[in-house]
Symmetry: C2
Subunit: 315 residues, 2 copies
């Protein structure tokens, strides 16, 4: 049987990424644009631009935000307000005459890992995307668990500062890249000694997580401390996930996994101290294999996983 194709769209934040993806997970073409206020127009244009092959079965949208699955709508998308409340799915269906599916971007990425990535061997796992923020998707019995799964906005410190989401002490405020940078800037402004001073030449706001990891590898104490502390907080989150969901695996994706040896190792150690032993012993904590492409491949997988089963060959 000839291979099928779908268009995967990753609407994670400021960028709009669109790809033509084969059922085996190969990216045929890919494009990236800045997202705009006219988000549905931008989407439709990009899809038409990339729609090249025959046998395109549909379009999958992975959107950073809360999804109302029953009505295929985005309830709220803090980083992408233009799409909140719109009927993007209905619009695209009408304009492009194709099936359109929508999911939260991290849930879509989890589906991608499940179908053709690091989650292939697991029926039950959690994907965490560790970047500027912390996104998450849950796979249960081989399928996306249709819950909000906002694990980054689980409070791990009820008395802390407010998170923009409204909650207080969210995991994301302790273990994300944004949290690490904020802490580094604050320490540097207070005059802390660190190699980081040189690498950003005094303009602290240009610091990246890569700078911190690089300095840590060069023996910088402040950088090591920041990475280890963020790792410990991530470990608190992992232990909560393990105690509540008891997954077979936790798959970690996103830029911060580059600092695996310090940040993730510390998180695993902390989780091992905190989670129920029997549950911790049953979980593998491993890196994503689709990496940056998990979002678009996963979005395309929304289409493939919703295709009707092929008829048995005798028909």
């Amino acid at each position: 049987m000839s291979e099928k194709y779908a268009i995967g769209v990753d609407l994670g934040g400021t960028n709009l990424r669109v790809a033509l993806v084969s059922e085996s997970g190969k990216i045929i073409r890919k494009l990236k644009k800045r997202s705009s206020e006219q988000i549905v127009d931008a989407l439709a244009d990009s899809i038409v631009e990339i729609r090249h092959a025959d046998r395109i079965c549909g379009i999958g949208l992975g959107v950073a935000g809360l999804i109302d699955r029953k009505n295929s709508r985005v309830l709220a998308s803090p980083n992408l307000p233009a799409i909140g409340g719109t009927d993007a799915v209905g619009e695209l269906r009408r304009r492009l005459k194709m099936p359109v599916f929508i999911e939260n971007d991290a849930n879509a990425a989890a589906l991608g890992e499940r179908m053709i990535g690091a989650g292939r061997d697991f029926e039950n796992f959690v994907l965490l995307t560790l970047g500027t923020g912390i996104g998450s998707g849950i796979i249960h019995r081989g399928r996306v668990l249709e819950v909000p799964a906002e694990l980054g906005h689980m409070s791990i410190n009820f008395e802390a500062e407010k998170c923009p989401c409204g909650n207080t002490g969210c995991l994301e405020n302790y273990a994300s890249a944004r949290a690490m940078i904020a802490r580094a800037v604050s320490m540097l402004e207070k005059g802390a000694e660190s190699l980081l001073k040189e690498c950003c030449k005094g303009s602290f706001y240009k610091l990246t997580p890569e700078d911190i990891y690089g300095a840590a590898l060069d023996g910088d104490n402040l950088s090591r401390e920041i990475l280890k502390d963020a790792g410990r907080y991530l470990g608190v989150g992992l232990a909560n996930i393990i105690n509540v969901l008891g997954p077979e695996a936790i798959i970690l994706a996103g830029g911060l996994t580059g600092a695996w040896n310090i940040y993730v190792q510390e998180a695993i150690r902390e989780a091992s101290r905190r989670a129920f032993k029997d549950l911790f012993d049953g979980v593998k904590i491993i890196p994503s294999s689709l990496e940056d492409n998990a979002g678009i491949i996963g979005a395309a997988c929304l289409v493939f996983s919703n295709l009707p089963e092929p008829l048995p060959s005798k028909y």
Copy 2:
């Protein structure tokens, strides 16, 4: 068609409760014993004692602890060490020649609420049992979500004292009856003024949550403060549950729901401040309708929910 029966067993802690339950949720007979070291013997004896009706389809065990569903075993049961690691299910099957099913006790209670209690109208809900500890069960798409669901052992304060489970700052350590009593005792020992002094005549360790609620209703400030603070902590947990699982309902069971007007109301207020607004607006927070019997009825429901579908009537 004549009604079916099952035996429900609730192994929640120091007591062993066994009931003969009809498919419509009626308790026909019920008995309560102290659990013993020879837990399987005690179970088998109680079941034989109560097995009265014909048409008993099987036995359901709800056990406070981590369940290995694949092997029908109890991995760990902190309050009931005698059952940890035993093959109670296999033993009972052999001795009593009947189907035997096992679940975590709070998951079983959630199933009971789903089949014939306050959860009948909800496909997706979380049950919390608020007593000495905090247990929890998750219903997803009308069925028990097969995860550990130890929401009481989710850390909401990573820097706090250690919980006996190994984690730190668990919800249970802030919002359970045990937590409230511990706080009351500590305050009274420090000489705090309170009506509670009289009601336990100086032996603080006999205090009950009912004493605290009673004193609060009589205008006692310390008691009100303890209930409200515990409620706020419960609200932190509710917000985490809402952000992660986005249920249609959270059903609250257990003795502490008697203090609904202070403790639960405060929890709902706190959750409304913290959770994503769209998700909070979609959740109903309501009391259990099976109350104390949720455990045994739910355990019996494990049997009913596993019965094969009846054949269509033409057969």
